[in-house]
């Protein structure tokens, strides 16, 4: 409910924090405006009150409170405030007193303070000079914002505490980036481009734009949720929100700039580092150190590329962030640098890492890159600044070989290369074809297939049977038959290797 009056209501005073109290009874009268504040030490002072006053009662005897309520009601006093001393005896109002206050509709508020005078002073300033108290609030907010970083995690709690509101940083689609969006906030508010005051469930919301694009479309809003809605108070919240929105807007711009700048500078720094080979100039070392890179120690390079090559993809900073976070989650902390086609990443150890490390890194990388739809290659560990370049070079090579296995270590690459070389050598292919000729076309190629699988499975019949989906005995029979047809014995290591190589070569040519 937004009242049109220019004065603060009792509810406002409670909301502002000028009156830090608890409404015991008479909530019906909370939306009446308070024109002045009086401190009453006795009934006489209560009697002297005029319409529109708020009375702070220093006594709390039941009869006194009831007489004060009655006089307050007759004189159109807006609220009676009881001050509970921080020490000493205090008799809280009884049920009969509360019931009386409810009947009269005079708010009975209880606050705790060492000195009622201070309560009166604070309230008086808020009531008589709302501009002064608004200025004080603004001062308090800006002073606190100066002290901390102007990011939402700092700014929103300051607003919440100083203004007694609930704030949220909301994107145009209604997602709360920080804080909680008030219930019932109309979408039209977020679709517009000007500050707005709207009624929401359980109060009023003040929405102020934080950041907009060139067309004027607001991307980010600062929304404050007030429980009371006196015009004066809404204005104050609006003003202070606006100031806070500038700070938040600055934060958005800085963040964005920072992200862009970091991406560019890192990319070019790495390119230079890779280009300079073994001899790293001191100037480059300085830049690397300033960028937070560590050049000493042993580096293990990783190169990640998208699973499915996407040529129009300009590697955007958000993906870099996602990869960095994904790696960090799995304990892989290092530099991530985006390049034109993929990301370079390296881990640094103080000493040469043990052989066992690469298996573990591979495993963790597998999880990390899979969640980002990437594949990666891993290099061997190399020391020093040029170690980075070497290891990354290996990683890049390995990444090029990465197929469905997602992550390939350069060491695995050696074996594959041997095999792929074998498959590419024509003499070997001819030999293989000749060797396996007796099996070609026999039983629809089933014998040859069984033989290849059997050898791949380290001559374990049951494993081959499982992979082929046939009985173990079937595999045994087929192998015996193949041995007969080929005239070899697979028990002989030389013959077995020759047959295995021939199988591989045959398969490579088929593919």
């Amino acid at each position: 409910m937004i009242s049109d009056g220019d004065s603060l209501t009792v509810r406002d005073l409670l909301g502002v924090g000028a009156l830090d109290g608890q409404v015991l009874a008479g909530a019906r009268g909370l939306d009446t405006e308070v024109l002045d504040v009086r401190l009453a030490a006795d009934i006489g002072a209560v009697e002297a009150c005029a319409a529109g006053d708020l009375v702070i009662l220093t006594g709390h005897a039941p009869y006194l409170v009831e007489v004060a309520l009655r006089r307050a009601y007759s004189a159109d006093v807006r609220a009676v405030v009881l001050v509970r001393p921080t020490s000493g005896s205090y008799q809280p109002p009884s049920a009969a007193t509360l019931s009386f206050a409810n009947r009269l509709g005079v708010p009975l508020v209880q606050t705790q303070a060492a000195d009622p005078l201070l309560v009166a002073d604070g309230l008086r300033t808020a009531v008589r000079r709302p501009d002064v108290s608004a200025a004080r609030l603004l001062n308090a907010v800006t002073a606190r914002m100066r002290r901390g970083k102007a990011d939402p995690r700092t700014v929103l709690p300051i607003l919440d505490e100083e203004l007694g509101v609930v704030t949220a940083l909301v994107s145009a689609d209604g997602t709360a980036i920080e804080g909680t969006t008030p219930l019932g906030l109309p979408e039209s508010v977020l679709a517009s481009s000007v500050p707005a005051v709207v009624e929401v469930a359980d109060g009023t919301a003040v929405a102020v734009p934080v950041e907009s694009d060139r067309t004027g479309h607001v991307r980010l809003w600062l929304v404050s949720h007030l429980r009371s809605g006196g015009k004066r108070w809404v204005d104050t919240v609006m003003q202070i929100s606006q100031v806070a929105s500038w700070a938040l807007g600055k934060w958005v711009a800085e963040e964005r700039l920072d992200v862009e700048r970091r991406a560019r500078s890192r990319g070019s720094l790495l390119a230079e580092l890779l280009a300079c080979g073994d001899d790293v100039p001191p100037q480059l070392v300085q830049q690397a150190v300033l960028a937070g890179w560590r050049l000493d120690g042993w580096h293990t390079g990783v190169y990640a590329v998208p699973q499915t090559p996407d040529h129009r993809m300009a590697l955007d900073p958000s993906r870099t962030e996602r990869l960095r976070a994904s790696l960090a989650r799995r304990g892989l902390h290092g530099q991530v640098v985006e390049g034109a086609e993929g990301w370079s990443f390296w881990l640094t150890n103080d000493a040469e890492p043990p052989q066992s490390q690469h298996r573990e890194i591979t495993m963790r990388l597998q999880q990390a890159v899979a969640s980002c739809a990437l594949v990666a290659g891993v290099g061997r560990p190399h020391p020093g600044a040029r170690g980075i370049a070497r290891s990354l070079g290996e990683a890049r090579e390995a990444a090029a070989m990465a197929g469905p296995s997602k992550v390939v270590h350069i060491d695995e690459l050696g074996v594959r290369r041997l095999l792929s070389m074998a498959a590419e050598t024509p003499a070997l292919v001819d030999q293989a074809t000749r060797l396996l000729d007796p099996l070609t076309g026999v039983e629809d190629g089933q014998l040859l297939r069984t033989l290849a699988v059997y050898l791949d499975e380290e001559s374990v019949t049951s494993a081959a049977a499982a992979r082929l989906g046939v009985h173990r005995n079937t595999v045994s029979q087929r192998i015996s038959r193949a041995e007969q047809l080929l005239g070899v014995s697979l028990l002989n290591p030389d013959e077995r290797l020759a047959v295995h190589l021939a199988c591989r070569a045959a398969r490579a040519t088929e593919e």
Partner: protein, 382 residues
């Protein structure tokens, strides 16, 4: 008329007999305004009074105008908690003993007993002394009701001396005090004497006492007793010499109040009772939910006595006017210290003796004298 009661309540010289004791007892309880001892305490004193009258005969009661102005009258009262008296029983000789303490053998002997505080137990002790000594009782007292402090008397307000003051207790201890701060000293002695003690102040000239005191208060007590005492259900009145027992008619509290110069504040149920003890005096507040109006309350502020009655934050009856709470079922008066949650009561108000409501006197007994931030509300105005 110098006093607060109308002429027909004032007695020509008459005898107070056994048959008067019960309604007198009820009357002094009502004049106690909730203090001065409850029904049980007063009942204990009536036993003493009956005993004294059995040996000393009926007490002669003199109207204030009949007293010899030059003769001396002695006043007696209990200080402390009447409730303790039921446990630590009086010997019966305390008052006479105290009188001996304030009177030297060569002094003019007292020729009458006067009242100190007509409300509660102290309304009967002077009669006990009168019966014991065979002296007449002059119908005057210093309060016309009950008050907690020794100096809250019209005697004191007029500058009549309270000291020397003799204090005695059943086991024979006695103290003779002569001090300006007599209240504090007397209470200290009383506490050391075991919670209650009998006190006798320096005798007064009857002319002075009658001039400044509340006259006709015993007659007023008898009148209230006659109007308000519930019919005796389990006792027989002693054969009356003067008047036959009044015919028993059931009368509403309103009718009784009208017949005795008061009004019914409300009938209601006690829904909150809160008590504390600060500085040796009890203090409390009671909320009574009115049965005659929806969601409306009467608040009673009490110390030893019921002192203020407020209806919805508006003071209705204030001390020195009297407030009595009567059990709506039995018609018995309930002392402030006995009022408990859930009881349905009739709250009845009576005007204070006219002496108290004069401007210069009010300050001694009005709500502010008891620490309430309220002015005296003239009786029946609100």
């Amino acid at each position: 008329m110098p006093s607060g009661c109308s002429p027909h309540y004032c007695l020509r010289m008459r005898l107070l007999t056994h048959s008067d004791v019960d309604r007198l007892a009820f009357g002094v309880i009502m004049l106690g305004s909730g203090g001065g001892g409850g029904e049980e305490d007063v009942h204990a004193v009536t036993t003493m009074l009956r005993q004294a009258m059995r040996t000393g005969g009926p007490v002669r009661v003199l109207d204030a105008g009949e007293a010899d102005p030059e003769a001396l009258g002695v006043r007696v009262g209990l200080i402390g908690a009447p409730t303790v008296m039921i446990e630590k029983l009086p010997s019966g000789d305390e008052a006479a003993e105290a009188l001996r303490a304030v009177q030297s053998p060569g002094d003019v002997p007292v020729s009458a007993v006067i009242g100190w505080e007509i409300g509660g137990c102290n309304g009967l002790f002077p009669l006990v002394l009168a019966a014991q000594l065979g002296l007449p009782y002059v119908d005057v007292d210093g309060m016309g009701r009950a008050f907690p402090r020794i100096d809250q008397t019209t005697y004191d307000a007029a500058g009549l001396p309270t000291t020397p003051l003799a204090i005695t207790e059943p086991s024979g201890n006695r103290a003779l005090l002569d001090s300006t701060g007599i209240e504090k000293l007397a209470r200290t002695v009383m506490v050391d004497f075991g919670g209650w003690a009998m006190m006798v102040a320096k005798p007064l000239r009857l002319g002075d006492a009658v001039k400044v005191g509340v006259t006709g208060s015993l007659a007023r007590a008898l009148e209230l007793g006659t109007v308000w005492a519930p019919p005796p259900s389990d006792r027989h009145w002693a054969s009356s010499q003067e008047e036959p027992a009044p015919p028993q008619v059931v009368r509403t509290p309103e009718e009784r109040a009208a017949a005795s110069g008061g009004f019914v504040v409300t009938r209601g149920k006690v829904i909150e009772v809160w008590r504390e003890s600060t500085g040796g005096f009890p203090r409390g507040t009671v909320a009574v939910q009115r049965l005659d109006a929806d969601d409306s309350y009467v608040r009673l502020e009490m110390q030893g006595e019921y002192l203020v009655a407020l209806a919805d934050g508006e003071p209705l009856v204030t001390t020195p006017d009297l407030i009595c709470c009567l059990d709506a079922e039995t018609g018995r008066a309930i002392a402030a210290e006995r009022l408990s949650y859930g009881t349905v009561i009739d709250v009845v108000a009576f005007p204070a003796p006219s002496q108290w409501v004069r401007p210069r006197m009010l300050g001694r007994v009005d709500p502010r004298a008891f620490g309430y931030d309220l002015d005296y509300v003239p009786f029946g105005l609100s």
